[in-house]
């Protein structure tokens, strides 16, 4: 098979920048205003990008550095910006992420924050909000590195070592949809397990219509719940490509001895089974009947639909953890993942894909990490896929150009409605994905046929 040589330039990137991931994660902490230490444009661009997916307000404050600040340091702007945002938003927490500008000029954010806490306490009438910071230069990885850095920072900086033991479970669910978060919360509730899910932007980025504008939208993981994480019974962390040094669960395990269950994103049958059996163990009981039923319904659908999907070839792209889960699921239903691609570069993708595909016969899928859409499109030529699974950024060059369906999952989805309500996780999420995939293939067959079939 022809392999594509690496290029120097990047065309149509299959990733976003580090601070975007951090801003997303901070948005999932209750009352937290994400704050980018850098020039104004970063915050504005990311707001626009996130708003277009969620159709929700996404305020990201900025220290708005100018030319002088770039030369003399951004300390004054950071402190002034914090005072302003805390004052006007009455924010109980601010999540500060750096950008390439402030990392390169060498601003020492922890020290600046330390001084801020001392010098500005009086300005804030003695009430200092929680200030969480993380280092996220955009040349330091993709948005997923930023996301994990922010989650890890929240845990490391807020966790209270004096917390009493409790029977709660910490759940680090990764970069999933608000619908996924709501489903996970239901699952834990039905198991009778009190869970602290971080970050929880299920309400902050999918809020109700209310009588008044919320400067800070309701919802989010309560600060006190994050503080109490060291006392939990266990942590569960989703993502087969999270390195230990980026893992929030590892902080709690290594510092406070909280047992960590590292699972893949629960997409499809086997990865969901792994979650549900873990929950059975932690809860000390069998799964509630509704999940046994959902699992059965999923299997029933997989049987009913298997001929529609049999032998179809798919290209899957997106964040590494997401594509591993999707690859696992597509392999289970009889679709052949021919290319699994990501802009991420954890170095763990190939191994993770192998782990979820090894039980199936035939050639393993081609795995490409650190690639852009130019490379994915080039690979697609020879692979002749029948469908594409990924975010909306592959639409024009990959799906439309080949006249094949794109199943929109993950982030961003900028060309469809209801992106925040796409369910990917658990048996029910698998059923949802299955319906989307089968119907897309049926529709394609129906549209391409001159007959106008009314039964397929």
């Amino acid at each position: 098979m022809k392999t594509v040589e690496p290029f120097v330039s990047t065309t149509n990137a299959c990733k976003m920048c580090t601070p975007l991931g951090a801003a997303m994660a901070f948005k999932g902490l209750e009352g937290c205003v994400p704050f980018l230490h850098g020039s104004q444009g970063c915050a504005t661009y990311m707001r626009r990008y996130i708003i277009s997916h969620f159709r929700e307000p996404m305020d990201i404050a900025s220290s708005s550095l100018g030319e002088k600040d770039a030369v003399y340091g951004g300390k004054a702007n950071l402190m002034q910006g914090l005072l302003n945002v805390i004052g006007k938003y009455k924010a109980p927490a601010v999540g500060i992420a750096t950008t390439c500008l402030t990392e390169t000029i060498g601003d020492d954010v922890p020290t600046i924050l330390h001084e801020f806490k001392k010098e500005c306490l009086a300005d804030l009438n003695g009430e200092m909000p929680a200030l969480i910071h993380c280092s996220t230069p955009s040349y330091g990885g993709s948005h997923m590195e930023g996301f994990h850095a922010a989650v890890r920072s929240m845990v490391a900086q807020l966790a209270d070592p004096k917390t009493a033991k409790h029977r709660g479970i910490n759940l680090f669910s990764g970069f999933v949809s608000p619908e996924d978060i709501r489903h996970l919360q239901d699952v834990f509730a039905h198991f009778g397990l009190p869970a602290t899910l971080l970050p929880d932007y299920s309400e902050t980025l999918d809020g109700p219509a209310l009588e008044d504008y919320q400067n800070i939208p309701g919802g989010g993981t309560p600060l006190d719940a994050v503080r109490a994480m060291p006392g939990a019974d266990a942590s569960i962390e989703f993502g087969r490509t999270i390195k230990p040094e980026r893992s929030a669960g590892a902080v709690l395990r290594d510092t406070y001895g909280v047992p960590l269950h590292s699972l893949g994103l629960p997409i499809g049958l086997r990865e969901s089974d792994a979650l549900f059996t873990t929950l059975e163990t932690l809860a000390g009981c069998s799964a509630p009947r509704r999940y046994a039923l959902e699992r059965g319904q999923l299997l029933d659908a997989m049987v009913d639909g298997h001929k529609y999907v049999a032998g179809k070839k798919a290209i899957i792209y997106g964040e590494e953890d997401l594509v591993v889960g999707l690859t696992s699921f597509l392999s289970e239903i009889g679709i052949k993942p021919v290319l699994v691609a990501s802009g991420g570069e954890s170095g763990l993708l190939a191994e993770a894909v192998a782990a979820v595909t090894e039980e199936f016969p035939g050639d393993p899928p081609l795995v490409r990490d650190g690639v852009d859409f130019y490379q994915i499109v080039a690979e697609a030529e020879a692979l002749e896929p029948d469908l594409i699974v990924g975010n909306s950024k592959g639409y024009r060059e990959l799906a439309r150009a080949r006249n094949i369906p794109l199943i929109r999952v993950g982030f961003p989805i900028h060309d469809r409605f209801g992106s925040q309500r796409v369910l990917h996780l658990g048996y029910r999420g698998a059923l949802n994905l299955y319906d989307l995939i089968v119907n897309a293939l049926i529709e394609k067959k129906q549209e391409d046929s001159s007959v106008g079939y009314g039964y397929i």
Partner: protein, 463 residues
């Protein structure tokens, strides 16, 4: 509502009638205020990007290129190289050792692959700090590849969007004067500051054609490098979009003596005035042009007016708020709303000048709020205070309006409906009507309380 306004921003807000006109503007955004503005890079990128046969390479880490990938609806009638997102995707080692070599290699690679007619290389924050010599690399590649390779000095932190516009104009001016102008008609114009969103520049070109006027260069909607090269051959520059391309018009006037007029293609008066101004300018060269223009405007208006009246019946007396990038667009919007019987009660822009705001104050009613570089907190407070029926703005403003249960018109660069010209006025009225008269506002919580309780905290109904 007072508490939402930052002390430092009070001078950037004016209430007409309450005090003599005074507003400060063109300031750096206040740290921590969640400005709706972007950066220098954004300014340059939006102005140059519609040049469809040029390579647009963003030299920096990946974000700047990702967030500007095909986000705007600038259409091209031919090549579509501008719809791809090119980046040097700088990594840590590039930041430490410098990115010049990578830039050189990326440029060569992309020029070989796409054979563009020119390349623009955008500088980002990080490049300004690590000190890559963009000019030297561009010069070297230009010599090797035989196409113009133009650095755009758009480091994000070096000001606001306005500086970005200037950098873009300076970049384009390097192309101007290098093309053959011998076959250009004496009745010719350049269209500046139109980005061909939803095909708008084609509407304007059609009007000009019907008047007998040729277009030399579109700057930059549906733009081509070769056209920009011979832009100095046009007899007149039409400048829309107050901030973005005025600098280029001034350069063209200074060096080539080409006069310019400011125009707007939004709304009935401004669209007609733009065409009449062009006709007046060419009247001595072509005495029939004024009659042709009058006929054109009459024809268009006869078709448009009856349609507007049907919308107006439902919209009479409704209140509108406007927040746009450039102030010039706001003038046209105020007039357009008047045609629909609506009142503008708040108007603002990201980058207006003092003169712009002065003029806004003159054409608006008593009590209208005029605001420079605002933010979500202020906007939501103004919308509530004025109890508006519709808000006109961009993507970042939309959720603010919707969360407050207020209609919204997308007057931004992502729009898919043409809003320019007489056709655009119809589309605008239709969109305003569609959103203002939607039944959903009957049910939003501000208008009708929910019949069900706020929710029991538990999983089951609390008895």
């Amino acid at each position: 509502m007072e508490p939402v306004i930052f002390e430092e921003r009070k001078t950037q807000i004016h209430r007409k009638g309450a005090e003599p006109f005074s507003i400060s503007c063109n300031k750096s955004s206040l740290a921590g205020a969640v400005s709706q503005r972007a950066c220098v890079f954004c300014g340059s990128r939006v102005v140059l990007y519609p040049i469809a046969d040029a390579l647009h390479l963003v030299h920096g880490p990946i974000g700047c290129a990702v967030y500007t990938w095909d986000i705007r609806g600038a259409l091209s009638s031919g090549p579509e190289l501008h719809r791809l997102s090119f980046s040097t995707d700088l990594r840590e080692k590039d930041v430490i050792f410098g990115g010049e070599k990578k830039l050189y290699q990326a440029l060569v690679e992309l020029i070989d692959r796409h054979q563009p007619n020119a390349a623009f290389v955008y500088s980002t924050c990080i490049v300004g700090i690590i000190g890559d010599d963009l000019k030297a690399v561009c010069k070297k590649v230009q010599a090797e590849k035989g196409i113009p390779v133009i650095p755009v000095q758009s480091e994000g932190f070096k000001g606001n969007k306005r500086e970005g516009y200037l950098a873009a104009c300076e970049a384009m001016f390097q192309l101007v004067g290098t093309g053959d102008t011998s076959d250009i008609s004496p009745l010719s114009v350049n269209i500046l500051g139109d980005f061909n969103l939803a095909g708008e520049i084609w509407i304007i070109q059609d009007y000009l054609k019907r008047m007998g006027v040729d277009v030399v260069a579109n700057i930059t909607g549906d733009g081509r490098v070769a056209d920009v090269r011979r832009a100095h051959g046009a007899a007149l520059n039409l400048v829309q979009c107050s901030g973005a391309t005025m600098d280029l018009a001034k350069m063209l006037k200074e060096k080539y003596g080409i006069p310019f007029i400011r125009v707007s293609y939004f709304g009935i008066e401004d669209m007609s005035d733009a065409l009449y101004d062009v006709a007046k300018f060419f009247e001595d060269k072509d005495p029939g042009i004024m009659t042709r223009t009058q006929e054109l405007v009459r024809e268009e208006l006869m078709a448009l007016y009856p349609k507007l009246q049907t919308f107006r019946k439902d919209l009479e007396g409704k209140k509108a708020a406007i927040y746009v990038g450039g102030a010039f667009k706001a003038f046209s919007l105020i007039k357009s709303f008047r045609h629909l019987g609506m009142n503008v009660v708040m108007v603002g822009s990201q980058t207006g000048t003092e003169e712009d705001y002065q003029e806004l104050a003159e054409i608006t009613d008593e009590g209208t709020i005029i605001v420079d570089d605002t933010n979500p907190l202020e906007l939501s407070a103004f919308i509530k205070e004025k109890d508006v029926d519709i808000f006109v703005g961009g993507v970042k403003e939309r959720p603010i309006a919707f969360k407050l249960g207020v209609g919204f018109c997308d007057h931004n660069h992502e729009r898919k409906e043409a809003l320019e010209g007489f056709l655009g006025m119809y589309n605008f009225a239709r969109e305003v009507h569609a959103t203002v008269t939607s039944p959903v506002w009957n049910f939003t919580p501000r208008r009708r309380k929910s019949p069900i309780a706020a929710g029991s905290p538990g999983e089951v109904c609390a008895s």
